[in-house]
């Protein structure tokens, strides 16, 4: 092979290498740009509208300036509470089962797969299901059924929390070293008790983190609420009635023709994103610091 050919080939390869490096850096910048843009816009457009009124007042009728999204914040909180009652126990329970009792079995794999299926269900379809299961049927002895309600919205969100909570619970429990379990068994404690009191407690920071992650995810969901919780212009803490929610309100206001409502949408988005960023940062901080301080 002549040295000229080698030199040509060599400079072509070096040039390609350089080009790819530049492209990769460009790709990184293009990806980070929308993120920065969104945050900057939210701060710029939303910060000015964030005043005390925002957090304490309900929306004013069209045409009047001012007002806030206090009812939506309350509503979101309530919906999250209902969702947690459903999502957290089932998720943690399933996670404990997958890690401690069924590890490696076909049943466990089937459950894990089903949880992934549940995770991938589009949020709008989840809303459809909740609508069909709760809003539609008029069963006299079952409360909350037969009409739009906060309960229905909470159920939809709760279903969506389950896979996240389940997966993180299982992962956290798997990280507890077997030595801990063996120590408990060596003390003569029957299996299920040792599992609950010791293993879960060891992994509890991580499990709580998983729940926070699930919160952050469903706090911003709009689609499941469109025809379950429906939204509400007034104060309401009634589980049996339609209720306002932050993302839902943002959606409605964003598509409206009123500048005033656009302002509120930006402010609401800012509040929502701050909460989510806090949750995600906290999760990252806890997991990077080593979750199982009690284990070693």
């Amino acid at each position: 092979m002549s040295s000229d050919a080698f030199k040509f080939r060599s400079s072509l390869r070096t040039a390609t290498d350089g080009l790819v490096t530049v492209l990769a850096i460009l790709a990184t910048l293009v990806v980070i740009a929308p993120l920065v843009a969104i945050f900057v816009y939210l701060l710029y457009m939303g910060a000015s509208s964030l005043n005390l009124a925002f957090f304490t007042q309900i929306p004013k009728p069209v045409g009047e300036t001012g007002g806030g999204m206090a009812n939506a914040i309350l509503g979101s909180g309530l919906l999250l509470a209902v969702a947690s009652v459903i999502g957290v126990p089932i998720g943690i329970g399933a996670g404990i089962f997958l890690s401690e009792f069924g590890r490696g079995s076909t049943l466990a794999n089937a459950i894990r797969f089903t949880a992934d299926v549940l995770n991938g269900v589009p949020s709008i379809v989840m809303g459809l299901a909740a609508y069909a299961l709760i809003v539609v049927p008029k069963i006299p002895f079952l409360p909350f059924t037969g009409h739009f309600s906060a309960f229905a919205g909470g159920v939809a969100l709760g279903f969506m929390m389950i896979p996240t909570v389940c997966r993180t619970t299982e992962e956290m429990l798997l990280m507890v070293p077997n030595a801990v379990r063996e120590a408990a068994l060596g003390l003569g404690v029957p299996n299920w008790r040792s599992v609950l009191s010791i293993t879960v407690k060891t992994a509890s920071p991580g499990i709580i983190t998983g729940c926070m992650l699930a919160f952050a995810r469903v706090a911003g969901e709009t689609a499941p609420l469109i025809f379950t919780a429906l939204g509400n212009q007034f104060w309401s803490a009634n589980l049996d009635k339609p209720i306002a929610a932050l993302p839902l309100q943002i959606y409605v206001y964003a598509l409206s023709p009123y500048d005033d409502w656009h302002r509120l949408a930006w402010a609401g988005s800012l509040v929502l994103i701050i909460l989510i960023v806090l949750a995600v940062s906290l999760v990252r901080y806890v997991t990077s610091r080593g979750v199982l301080k009690g284990a070693s």
Binding site: G93, V125, A223, I226, P247, V277
Partner: protein
């Protein structure tokens, strides 16, 4: 505990059951043709797809819109996501890695409705003023870009915002499978006298390609079901147009927009059938993606990033 685990089965089955049950009306009336039929307006001979008043329902424009916007999103997201993953895994200086990975995680955590808000007020005007005219001028000859829609909404805008949304998923999964490639493979390629890109291409990407395909398919799964941001920028018009700049609709969009106000049983059934289709498609797509990713990372314990 077992009860909790089994209740997941029950929930999924309930969802499937309800979806099937409530779409029976249109299923019996239209059969499989629901998804591709074209009706004709008797007066003007133009195609009519979605006419709740006359109870004519064809999901064709929504299937079209979902596919077009998702495909556009993948086209734009894949090179960027893989580029980002390559940068973070093989080229990034150590101190930047963690912050950049964190930023990518944040991108994934932003709710759909906030993406939609930003898209409506910032992205769409940007595209409308600066990008779309450029596209029409340079690529108009393909027939894919015409100027019949001055609003800036449409398939293309939906594709762009979808791309931004699925990027983090594809990127972080690609990173995971790239990290799972053993270091010895990289060294083997370098020892033969390869440049860094050749090492990445032959030693890492090649070994991880199945997982990368899985990551892409997972991104597709997310794009197919994405509702809020798409509903806000696609134009919500139940028609089919060749131009990517035209208004359209998607499966998730029509459900979100029309369900609360739908009155007739047939209308509700049609919307539910679309929901059922979305449900089944996302199960298949996501399941396939999980299998691919599992095949690549199986046996590798979770590694530090």
């Amino acid at each position: 505990m077992l009860l909790c685990a089994l209740s997941i089965f029950v929930i999924v089955l309930l969802i499937a059951f309800e979806l099937v049950q409530r779409s029976q009306l249109t299923w019996h009336k239209f059969g499989l043709g629901f998804f591709y039929k074209v009706f004709s307006d008797s007066y003007s001979n133009t195609p009519v797809y979605w006419d709740p008043v006359n109870e004519l329902f064809s999901a064709r424009p929504f299937v079209y819109g979902t596919l077009v916007s998702s495909f556009l999103a993948l086209l734009m997201a894949i090179p960027l996501a893989v580029g980002l993953a390559i940068f973070l895994t093989e080229m990034c200086p150590g101190f930047l890695r963690s912050p950049l990975a964190f930023l990518t995680e944040l991108l994934a955590a932003i709710p759909s409705v906030i993406y939609g808000l930003w898209a409506v007020f910032v992205l769409v005007p940007l595209l409308r003023e600066h990008v779309n005219p450029l596209l029409i001028k340079t690529l108009g000859w393909t027939g894919l870009f015409d100027d019949s829609n001055p609003t800036g909404l449409g398939y293309f805008s939906a594709g762009v915002i979808l791309a931004v949304m699925i990027l983090p998923i594809i990127s972080s999964l690609t990173r995971e499978v790239m990290i799972a490639v053993p270091h010895s493979q990289r060294e083997a390629v370098l020892a033969l006298g390869a440049t860094r890109w050749e090492m990445i291409r032959m030693g890492v990407l090649r070994n991880a390609r199945i997982g990368i395909v899985g990551a892409i398919i997972l991104g597709l799964g997310r794009a197919l079901g994405e509702t809020m941001a798409v509903a806000m920028v696609i134009g919500a018009t139940p028609e089919i147009h060749h131009s990517l700049l035209a208004n359209g609709s998607s499966m998730a969009t029509v459900i979100a927009n029309e369900y609360a106000e739908a009155v007739s049983e047939m209308h509700l059934s049609a919307l539910t059938e679309i929901g059922l289709a979305l449900f089944l498609v996302t199960i298949v797509v996501n399941g396939f993606a999980q299998v691919l990713i599992w095949a690549v990372t199986r046996g590798t314990p979770a590694q530090a990033r």
